[in-house]
């Protein structure tokens, strides 16, 4: 790591300041984390707005007064989670040595994000006959999302693990009365929540991998030069 940074610092003449900044690994990590954090915050705000509109989630009434109608802690939490997941995915890819091979383009990532928002939209707006149907549909959609945009076993595993953990955390939060769902059907929460978490993890992982691609490219070229 230190070697890397010194190397890139030692050869600033070769590249512009932007490239050398990206080459710097810690800097790169920070930038990526910040970007992922912002993506997470943004998605949390927008998607929560969808849920609050349809009275799916209830927050204490005094908080609901602004557009940021949920609790203040929610977006930062989502942002942090997004940053962690988004950094974890490329890292895991590198560790496992099986890089993500599917079409790695920004247009694909955008498509993935759009589908994710669509899944949320459907969960909030489409009127289903019963909750089981809703949950099953969303689960199928989430797996479809994984198959379309990820297709890596590691991605699936990580997604499932994080979805389970997040569901547990939400259960605890609701149990302690921080907020509540209007019509819980899976202990204290809605049964489609794990699916949403899973889809979110896949999406954020996709973004993280795409962001990491830049660093990967630069470092690849560097090793080649050496």
């Amino acid at each position: 790591m230190a070697e890397d940074s010194s190397l890139s610092g030692g050869a600033p003449m070769h590249r512009g300041p932007y490239i050398s900044m990206i080459t710097n690994r810690t800097m790169n990590l920070l930038i990526r984390a910040a970007m992922l954090f912002m993506v997470g915050v943004f998605l949390a705000l927008v998607l929560n707005l969808l849920q609050v509109q349809r009275n799916v989630t209830l927050f204490p009434p005094d908080v609901i007064s602004s557009i940021f109608s949920s609790a203040w802690w929610l977006p930062p939490c989502c942002g942090t989670a997004a940053a962690l997941i988004g950094l974890l995915y490329p890292c895991m890819d590198r560790r496992l040595g099986e890089p993500h091979k599917l079409k790695r383009e920004w247009s694909n990532v955008m498509r993935c994000v759009a589908v994710f928002v669509g899944i949320n939209h459907a969960s909030a707006k489409v009127d289903f006959v019963n909750n089981v149907q809703l949950s099953l549909t969303l689960a199928a959609l989430s797996v479809g999302l994984w198959w379309t945009f990820d297709r890596s076993r590691s991605g699936f595993g990580l997604g499932v693990i994080i979805a389970i953990l997040a569901t547990l955390a939400t259960q605890l939060l609701v149990y302690n009365g921080v907020f509540q769902y209007t019509s819980p059907d899976f202990l204290y929460i809605r049964s489609w929540l794990p699916c949403i978490f899973f889809a979110g993890v896949i999406t954020v992982g996709n973004i993280g991998r795409q962001l990491a691609l830049y660093e990967y490219k630069v470092s690849q070229e560097k090793t080649h030069q050496d």
Binding site: L47, S107, M110, R111, V117, H121
Partner: protein, 1235 residues
């Protein structure tokens, strides 16, 4: 078995796609017409769908047979809209009160116009509240409301809570007469709730008065002196008898004469779902994601003629497939119930642009030399399998979605399926055809470009052949700007400039302002039609000839008595109106009124416009009223009952009685004229303000423009002939690069075009078509030596040139047998003898070249050093620039040197300048030339290699081992490598034998500094020995030969690149990767090897391992030259494009489009400065940003001359050929940068 079947299927699909591609490319126009027709046909059912919008929808029914519609839809009533089900949210009953004090007399103050009429509202209210019809009271029927929304606490005092929703102007005073009477300033009370600034929705005044603000008449300057207001009652259930009795009661109490309002219709108003900000944010987000998706997708389209055109076609394909899907679904009876705006982005994402991009990529990557038809067909068939597979997968996924049996998802899936199919159809027909047209255009443009620009003949059809983006042909001024319009360049400008350019190019600011204004006006008209429409109506009615000319003026003066019948008054008139409609009579009457005498009694008239006065209210009037009580009207409807007219006539006495003591303190009423002005004052104010803002904006933009574009932007009339040399080209936007004077130094002397150019940093050697070699000082530009074609020999003793052609013919055969590799062999004696034998022929001169080569070396006409600014004159020759004298002096100095040089040499003293010539190659031309130290190596078409002394101009050695012409030479560390036409490669070693007694002798004078690498003094005996000859280095002629870092790299037309080690001439690698002949090679000290070929590809190789690092497809046509810096590769091609690639990743950073026929020569001066040769000029570019720094014009009449060769010298000078001249350009700024 299964695999075989799959393979067969695959082949079938591929063949079908191939045929389809041929069809599409063959008949583009009919197919596009057919597709457009089918799109339009499929979209036709969309016309029946209501336009999207949030405006309310109305439905009118009769009052008499009204019954609350049931919840079930009844199919029998087809005209009944589907929202008209179930009871409405409320029935709105309005009581329209028109009140006036009449007759008006001058003792009354302006406040009297509305104080007593408003005061009467309380009695009417009382009447309504207390009205009972068969034990039904208003309390039982009216809509009971609860709390106001928490955010509306300031309205609590005004709007009713916990009771009937009944609003009237009385609410301002809590419906209490005593508060009203005690109110000193009614207007202030009314207006204190009005919001400031522009408002588009209903205000409190509108809500309470129930009529548009202008019509209430509650102001001090009312012309009509009639006060209008409504009492609005919201009923929860409709009791026809109660309403009828209320109507009868009020009419009876306050009869309205001449009232012809229709009372038999009730209007049901349905409100669409409102989109709040909270719903808008996710929607906007999805659209942003959609646009990002489209952006990232279309960005990948590359290598086509018009990127934007294809991107547009792709988007059109997707959008029209969506429209087709909706249209088809509608056609087959499925009405869309989903919110189109919401699901639209998801549909686009599901259908996707991928196929389109894959198609483009596949077609583009087919071989360029094929016919367009075949390319399209091949591209299609290559991707056919994956397209079909993807399509099948998507259809499967969507079908799975269909079986979720959720109505919304099913509908979505249905749309998606139809959309996918129609998208496939459009891709196959529409997009493929567009692509074929695009590719054809590109090839035409290529063809056009390949025609040499010097040919001078204009293309027969310049219009269709030229790309659309190219500007009109250059102006016939001598110094045209060599760059194309910046829009065509793909540059990296500084960000700030790019933003400014973008703004300027698109005129974004102006367009935004324009669009903003239009939208604003649209919003005004749409949301608040009352104000504008009434204003317009008033204008029209005031100016209408009907009102002014149609009625005699005395009509308005006639007093209209309260309760009097106006029709009787009218009947007495001659009634000259051309269109005497009964409704229009009263209106015309009223309209004529304002024109009459200042003091007139107000009169109350009822016209059809009063029937549905609520229509003039904002369409958000009712939703906002109900939303105060948290009742939403979205997707619901209200029923508006016919209005109950109430006319109140008050006597002046009554008005005086109800006066508040402060009322009289008000100023007396101003004259009608001024009041007339006053009413319109707001309008004028707004207009003045707008005008002022506009002027300020214009001034601001003008200043901005002056600041940003200080030069003559947009002035086409600037005569370009006035542009001096060195004048900088000004951008389209007036941006000009920083000026630093760079004046080229022209080196003249050659009589023909310069063929070869070589330099070692200090010296510069050039060779022209005739074969004359000239050596110049690279620092000063002085001509040091002239070596004529070797048919002419210079005798150093006499200092004259002599023709030797006759000798050559005679001695050809003998010399060939006599001479080995080294002419300094002892056998030289015989040679010398032969030389003596033919001596007499020496003196013979041919008449062909008598002028140039006289007896005396009069070099003044040859060495004409033009310094650009002062014209060449006779004074030059006599001044210090007389190089003839200088060279002569140098000759004098060296005259004794031959005798001094060879005392130890073998007895037959042979002057080195008289080497034996063996064959008749004086007419063989120089094909390659290299310069190291002060030795010039020339390779001739006859296969002869010669070494010349650069300073003395004497032939030091020559070698005729090969007979095939030398196409390229490399001279590196006393080794010379010659590539020959037959594909063989010869390695020579230059050996220097220092003469014994003269080791201390210094090198040639005339140049201050010592040349770098091997320095050969003129006394050294130089021999050139063939060490190795690789006979079949390549199968075809070697085109490029480069040597650096101990490696020799050759490129040949046989598509391969070979790497040899210089020391042992051993072939290390044969690099294969190109699919065309090699045209350019770059290798430098860091062992970076890049090669470019005729196929337009550029390969980067690892010289150590022989592996290919990257392979990019960069140019259409040959790669003409290649240069690398430490971070990037710069290539230029026959397509006049200069591409800059990232060296390690092979990603194209950007490209520069140059003018036709001038992109061949490249040079890198420093890490960030690129120099390119153009038509009579050289251009300097900043490599980091790709912007043009400067263009230096080489000569005055430089039209047809293009710079073909360009050398960068060590001292930050560049030298380039320029017809028969050489041009030496110093770049002083770079020197500073380097320091």
């Amino acid at each position: 078995m299964n695999e075989i079947q799959e393979e067969r299927l695959r082949q079938n699909i591929s063949a079908a796609f191939y045929r389809h591609g041929l069809l599409c490319a063959s008949y583009p126009v009919p197919i596009i017409l057919f597709t457009s027709a089918s799109i339009l046909t499929c979209c036709y059912p969309l016309l029946k769908l209501p336009l999207p919008g949030t405006g309310p929808v109305e439905f009118t029914t009769g009052v008499r047979d009204y019954s609350t519609p049931s919840h079930e839809s009844q199919g029998d009533l087809s005209e009944r809209p589907d929202w008209y089900r179930g009871p409405p949210v409320a029935y709105i009953q309005q009581v329209l009160v028109k009140a006036a004090v009449s007759p008006w007399d001058n003792s009354l103050v302006p406040v009297d116009v509305f104080r007593s009429p408003l005061g009467r509202v309380f009695s009417v209210l009382e009447e309504i509240r207390n009205h009972v019809y068969t034990d039904r009271s208003l309390e039982a029927l009216c809509l009971q409301v609860t709390d106001l929304l928490p955010g509306l606490r300031r309205m609590q005092a005004v709007l009713p809570e916990h009771g009937c929703l009944l609003v009237s102007p009385g609410n301002y005073w809590q419906n209490r007469r005593d508060l009203f009477d005690a109110d000193p300033d009614l207007l202030k009370t009314v207006h204190q709730h009005e919001p400031k600034g522009l408002h588009t929705s209903a205000t409190l005044k509108d809500l309470l008065f129930g009529v548009p603000g202008k019509q209430t008449g509650v102001n001090l300057y009312s012309k009509k002196r009639v006060v209008t207001y409504t009492i609005t009652i919201a009923l929860s259930s409709y009791d026809a008898r109660f309403v009828a009795s209320l109507r009868a009661r009020l009419k009876q109490l306050h009869p309205s004469a001449n009232c012809t309002l229709r009372e038999d219709h009730m209007v049901h108003v349905h409100f669409k779902e409102e989109i709040g900000i909270a719903e808008l944010i996710p929607l906007v987000t999805t659209y942003i994601i959609l646009f990002a998706y489209i952006y990232f997708s279309t960005r990948k389209i590359d290598m086509v003629k018009s990127k934007w055109g294809l991107a547009l076609a792709a988007v059109v394909t997707v959008l029209s497939s969506l429209l087709m899907s909706v249209g088809l679904c509608t056609l087959f009876g499925l009405t869309p119930t989903l919110n189109g705006g919401e699901i639209f982005p998801y549909l686009v994402v599901v259908i996707g642009l991928e196929n389109v991009l894959v198609l483009t990529k596949s077609v583009v990557s087919t071989p360029v030399d094929l016919e367009v038809k075949l390319r399209i067909a091949q591209g299609l068939s290559n991707e056919s399998w994956s397209i079909m597979k993807n399509m099948a997968t998507e259809l499967c996924i969507i079908l799975i979605g269909y079986f979720t049996f959720v109505p919304a998802i099913q509908e979505f899936c249905l749309f998606a399926v139809v959309g996918l199919v129609s998208d496939f159809f459009l891709q196959m027909f529409f997009f493929t055809t567009v692509l074929s047209i695009d590719i054809r255009r590109m090839e035409l443009a290529d063809l056009n470009r390949r025609l040499p620009a010097e040919a001078g003949m204009p293309p027969p059809k310049p219009g269709p052949l030229r790309p659309r983006e190219t500007p009109p042909p250059p102006r016939p001024s001598p110094h045209t700007i060599t760059l194309q319009a910046p829009a065509f360049r793909n540059l990296r400008l500084p960000k700030r400039l790019r933003v400014v350019y973008f703004l300027a190019r698109t005129r974004l600011a102006q367009r935004i302002i324009m669009v903003g204004t239009v939208i604003w006006i649209g919003i005004l008209v749409y949301t608040d039609p009352a104000g504008l429409r009434t204003f317009l109506a008033a204008q029209v009615s005031e100016q209408s000839p009907l009102g002014e000319a149609g009625l005699p003026p005395h009509l308005g003066v006639a007093p209209v008595f309260p309760g009097g019948d106006p029709t009787s008054t009218l009947s007495g008139l001659p009634a000259p109106e051309p269109t005497p409609l009964p409704e229009n009579q009263s209106q015309g009457h009223r309209a004529a009124h304002p024109e009459v005498a200042p003091v007139s009694s107000p009169q109350i008239t009822w016209g059809p416009e009063d029937e549905e006065l609520w229509r003039r209210l904002s369409f958000r009037h009712w939703p906002s009223l109900f939303s105060y009580y948290n009742i939403t009207l979205a997707k619901r409807y209200i029923s508006i009952l016919p209005v109950i007219p109430v006319t109140l006539h008050l006597s002046p006495q009554e008005a005086i009685d109800t006066r508040h003591p402060q009322d009289t303190h008000h100023a007396p009423p101003p004259s009608i004229k001024t009041s007339d002005l006053q009413t319109d004052l707001t309008l004028y104010k707004v207009a003045a303000l707008g005008l002022f803002a506009g002027v300020v904006l214009v001034l601001l933009l003008f200043c901005l423009y002056r600041v940003l574009c200080p030069r003559n932007y947009g002035q086409n009339g600037v005569p370009h002939g006035r542009r001096r040399r060195g004048d900088l080209p000004c951008d389209e936007y007036g941006y000009s690069p920083p000026i630093s004077e760079i004046s080229p130094l022209l080196l003249r002397g050659h009589s023909m075009d310069i063929e070869c150019l070589a330099s070692d940093g200090m010296l510069l050697a050039s060779c022209c078509l005739v074969g004359h070699i000239r050596v110049w000082d690279a620092q000063t530009g002085d001509c040091l030596t002239v070596i004529p074609n070797n048919g002419l020999r210079r005798s150093s003793s006499s200092g004259c040139w002599e023709h030797r052609d006759g000798w050559d013919h005679i001695s050809a055969c003998e010399a060939e047998s006599l001479l080995g590799a080294d002419f300094r062999e002892p056998g030289g004696g015989a040679v010398g003898g032969q030389d003596v034998d033919i001596f007499p022929i020496r003196r013979r001169t041919t008449p062909a070249r008598p002028a140039l080569f006289g007896d005396q070396p009069d070099l003044t006409p040859l060495i004409d050093t033009n310094f650009g600014l002062s014209p060449p004159s006779q004074a030059l020759s006599s001044s210090g620039f007389d190089f003839g004298g200088l060279v002569e002096k140098a000759y004098q100095e060296h005259e004794p040197s031959p005798t001094l040089a060879f005392p130890p040499s073998p007895p037959p003293v042979l002057p080195p300048e008289l080497p034996p010539q063996n064959n008749g190659d004086w007419d063989s031309s120089v094909w390659a030339m290299e310069l190291r130290g002060n030795l010039i190596a020339t390779g001739r078409s006859s296969g002869k290699l010669e070494l010349w002394d650069a300073v003395e101009g004497s032939l030091r050695c020559s070698n005729e081992d090969g007979v095939s012409g030398i196409t390229a030479l490399a001279f590196l560390n006393n080794r010379i490598v010659a590539a020959r036409l037959n594909g063989s490669l010869d390695f020579f070693t230059v050996e220097i034998t220092k003469p014994l007694g003269l080791l201390q002798y210094r090198g040639p004078p005339g140049r201050g500094s010592l040349p770098p690498s091997p320095c050969y003094s003129s006394e050294d005996v130089i021999s050139c020995q063939l060490t190795r000859s690789v006979q079949c280095a390549h199968q075809k002629p070697i085109t490029v030969l480069k040597a650096a870092a101990g490696r020799v790299v050759t490129g040949s037309q046989d598509h391969t690149v070979r790497v040899y080690r210089l020391e042992d001439s051993c072939c290390l690698f044969t690099l294969q990767g190109h699919s065309g002949g090699i045209t350019a090679i770059y290798i430098d000290q860091t062992m970076v090897l890049a090669s470019g070929g005729q196929d337009g590809t550029i390969c980067v190789w690892d010289v150590l391992t022989g592996s290919r690092v990257s392979h990019v497809y960069g140019h259409r046509g040959d790669v003409t030259s290649l240069v690398c810096t430490t971070s990037c590769i710069i290539s230029s091609g026959l397509d006049d494009l200069i591409c800059i690639w990232d060296r390690s990743t092979g990603i194209k950073l950007y490209s520069i489009q140059q003018e036709v026929g001038c992109g061949a020569s490249l040079g890198v001066i420093s890490e960030s400065l690129l120099v390119t040769g153009g038509q009579g000029c050289v251009s300097f570019w900043d490599l980091n940003y790709g912007d043009l720094l400067q263009t230096v014009y080489l000569g005055q009449s430089s039209e047809g001359q293009s710079v073909r060769q360009l050398l960068v010298l060590d001292n930050a000078a560049i030298v380039c050929d320029f017809g028969s001249e050489l041009s030496l350009v110093y770049v002083p700024s770079v020197l500073e940068k380097l320091d």
